[in-house]
């Protein structure tokens, strides 16, 4: 459970995540000291959380192209301030990462959305291996 008094900055979804239309505000809770794993946790319902991770350490070749429409939806001024997070499906047997639809967070506006990289060919379930 997340105590709102943790004082984590609120991230507002510019567009709700598919499947979760009612959840518009989240906080990013760090689960790992190295910053490799976070819980993207709904403020409305702290029981709802997604494991997310920066893709670089796991998928070094992953270089998604983000379209201008995303920048305007997030009120992005500086693209260097964008944070890319991949949604992880955790399984005891196998863990996968959604490379087709990363969550993009603008750290200045604190707006976010799950961006579908149409036509990129990236998989929804890429098997995750140890970080490099």
């Amino acid at each position: 459970m997340i105590d709102p008094s943790l004082g984590l900055p609120t991230i507002s979804m510019a567009v709700p995540m598919p499947g979760f239309p009612a959840h518009r505000e989240f906080v990013l809770v760090r689960l790992n000291e190295d910053g490799l794993l976070y819980a993207f946790t709904s403020i409305q319902d702290p029981e709802l959380r997604f494991l997310v991770a920066p893709p670089e350490p796991f998928f070094p070749d992953y270089a998604p192209e983000i379209e201008n429409e995303v920048f305007s939806a997030l009120n992005t001024r500086d693209t260097d301030r964008l944070l890319l997070l991949t949604v992880i499906t955790a399984g005891v047997e196998e863990t996968t990462a959604n490379l087709l639809a990363p969550i993009v967070v603008d750290r200045d506006s604190m707006r976010a959305m799950q961006v579908v990289l149409s036509g990129s060919g990236y998989p929804v379930r890429a098997i995750m291996h140890r970080a490099y």
Partner: protein, 78 residues
């Protein structure tokens, strides 16, 4: 379901600000142009459904699953 007939170059409007234009029809392939406000996401239906299913599957993992992922990350430091 509302059924309308449109020719290439003609449009339909949904609400006040979504415009769908038939750009080209060739056999059973229809190309559509969609104008929508930026907070209206437009997806191919099958992609949206797959994403919805993937998100639901990813949501609220069990403690065991979280532990498995954390362990996977820690082993990487060795």
């Amino acid at each position: 379901m509302l059924v309308l007939t449109r020719r290439a170059g003609e449009s339909v409007m949904i609400g006040n600000d979504v415009i769908i234009t038939v750009l080209e029809a060739r056999g059973d392939v229809i190309r559509l142009g969609i104008q929508a406000p930026r907070d209206v996401q437009v997806h191919r239906e099958e992609v949206f459904r797959e994403l919805q299913a993937a998100n639901r599957e990813a949501a609220s993992p069990t403690e065991d699953a979280v532990r498995a992922v954390t362990e996977m990350l820690q082993t990487s430091e060795e």
